[in-house]
Amino acid sequence: MIVAEGLRKAFGSFAAVDGVDFRIGKGESFGFLGPNGAGKTSTMRMIACMSPYSGGSLRVLGMDPMTQGPAIRGRLGLVPQEDTLDEELTVLDNLYIYGRYFDLPKKLIRERAERLLEFAQLTDRRNDKVGPLSGGMKRRLTIARSLISEPDILILDEPTTGLDPQARHLLWDRLYRLKSQGVTLVITTHYMDEAEQLCDRLVVMDKGRIVAHGSPRALIAEHSTREVVELRFAVDQQQANVASVEDLAERVEVLPDRILLYVHDGDATIGEVHRRGLLPESALVRRSTLEDVFLHLTGRTLVD
């Protein structure tokens, strides 16, 4: 469905996307993970044929975005990072005009709009102007709107930013269903749990490059240990305590507020920490996540 080879995006002399390769198959759910400025949105905009690529090659649905943009966009749905709703119009009218952009007949739009309002839990706000809606409601409307054309590929740029946990889980559920209907999903996110839940495969981007790719599980297995011990010492005391624990772990990461020990048996490690007479303010064991993978690969946290 989507094939990129050596894909580049330059703004002047700055390369926002610096030669990335990926291949996304039909019905797949593919994630782009990375910190602010990694180049995720730039990549999404190139796939959505809104931003001409500066180098390499890109094929979407077998077509070239440079020359067949309108034909490709007709089969895509896009949830942009920033909302682009018409705040002067009602919820329903926003769906209606968007359907019109895709040349859908009025009757069909009305039918689909009913279902999408239901999905977005905005049925009772259908005749309200969009302007005063809450951020999360606008987000849900944006997502609903992207589905009005029943796209083959759905591109979601940080879809759940601003959603409450209930709305997030509802969206995940809806995305599963779309996927089972054969819709290809392309998702960017900062949320590790989201990526682990939703993505069959993902790439981790940093500074315009792909630093790792694979399934969430494989990435964790490859780049991290089974468990992680988080030790929190008194303020500004993290660095001072590193030396006394670093031999306990395969790998150690020092963050401003805590020390992470990458180990196989977390409980045993905590026992040893206490035996050594160290007194962290808190100590907990958790499973490795994609966050740890990212930290390992880039030396930075994802959400800064």
Binding site: P70, D86, E88, R100, Y101, D103, P105, K106, S149
Partner: protein, 262 residues
């Protein structure tokens, strides 16, 4: 899966959305559309005009109200076209970002521009239609040529809207609009032979006025409602407006691409 398409060309969808949006938010604008010409023609045309005619023995060979009405008409169209191309265009690019929503669909950047300019033309047609009705009520239409006001007003609206749109799509802050109104729109509205003949101006200002677009629209619309066509002057007016529109559209296209195709 029959009838899955309405069959509208992409540019048409872009024009349509403006008309649809307007139909939803127009509210009081119909009263202002009629009220403005009504009040102005009553106050300035009839009230002030009686005084003017008594002392000046008609302006440009016709009663003052006959002279003023087409000037006001052109000035109104000018203001409407500029108004719709300043803050609203900035809103659709920067605040609401609805142009970006259009660009994620089969529409492309030229469709978005055609949508805006096409709508400007339609607005110009609507406003001048209402204005003509009021003028007819005042008995200041003297020729069937007045019907030509509609297409001319639509074309002139595009000529006014295009460069304004180019500016709105180039500037990143709305602060410049206040200057545009103060030093661009207001002086043109007042000095483009709208309220008094060009001959009243000092020679050097006359030359300046000849270079500005509103004057030529005023000339043309006045020719139409009075039914008097000074041939060379009318030709100059048409050519000027056509060139002005073409250059404006070229700049607007460039500005839209630069701002939104990144």
């Amino acid at each position: 899966m029959a009838a899955q398409r309405a069959g509208w060309p992409t540019w048409f969808r872009a024009v349509w959305v403006h008309a649809y949006t307007y139909s939803k938010v127009w509210k009081g604008s119909v009263t202002t559309t009629f009220l403005f010409p009504l009040l102005y023609l009553a106050a300035m045309g009839v009230g002030l005009g009686t005084l003017v005619d008594r002392h000046a023995h008609h302006v440009g060979g016709v009663a003052y109200v006959d002279f003023l009405a087409p000037g006001l008409l052109a000035g109104t169209i000018f203001q409407v076209a500029v108004n719709e191309s300043t803050y609203p265009v900035m809103a659709r690019i920067k605040w609401m970002r609805t142009y970006w929503a259009m660009l994620a669909t089969p529409l492309d950047i030229d469709d978005v521009l055609i949508g805006h300019l096409g709508w400007s033309a339609l607005r110009g047609g609507m406003v001048s239609g209402a204005f003509l009705l009021v003028m007819e009520g005042f008995g200041v239409i003297h020729s069937w040529w007045a019907l030509a006001v509609l297409p001319l007003a639509m074309a002139a609206s595009v000529a006014f809207a295009a460069p304004t749109t180019a500016y709105a799509a180039t500037t990143t802050s709305e602060n410049g609009f206040a200057l545009l109104y103060r030093f661009g729109v207001m002086p043109l509205f007042l000095f483009s032979a709208t309220f008094f003949p060009l001959g009243q101006l000092p020679v050097w200002l006359r030359a300046v006025a000849q270079c500005t677009p509103l004057l030529h629209a005023v000339n043309l619309l006045r020719d139409c409602t009075l039914g008097i066509f000074p041939a060379t002057q009318a030709l100059v007016d048409v050519v000027y407006l056509a060139v002005f529109a073409a250059v404006g559209i070229a700049f607007a296209r460039r500005a839209f691409r630069k701002r939104m195709v990144l």
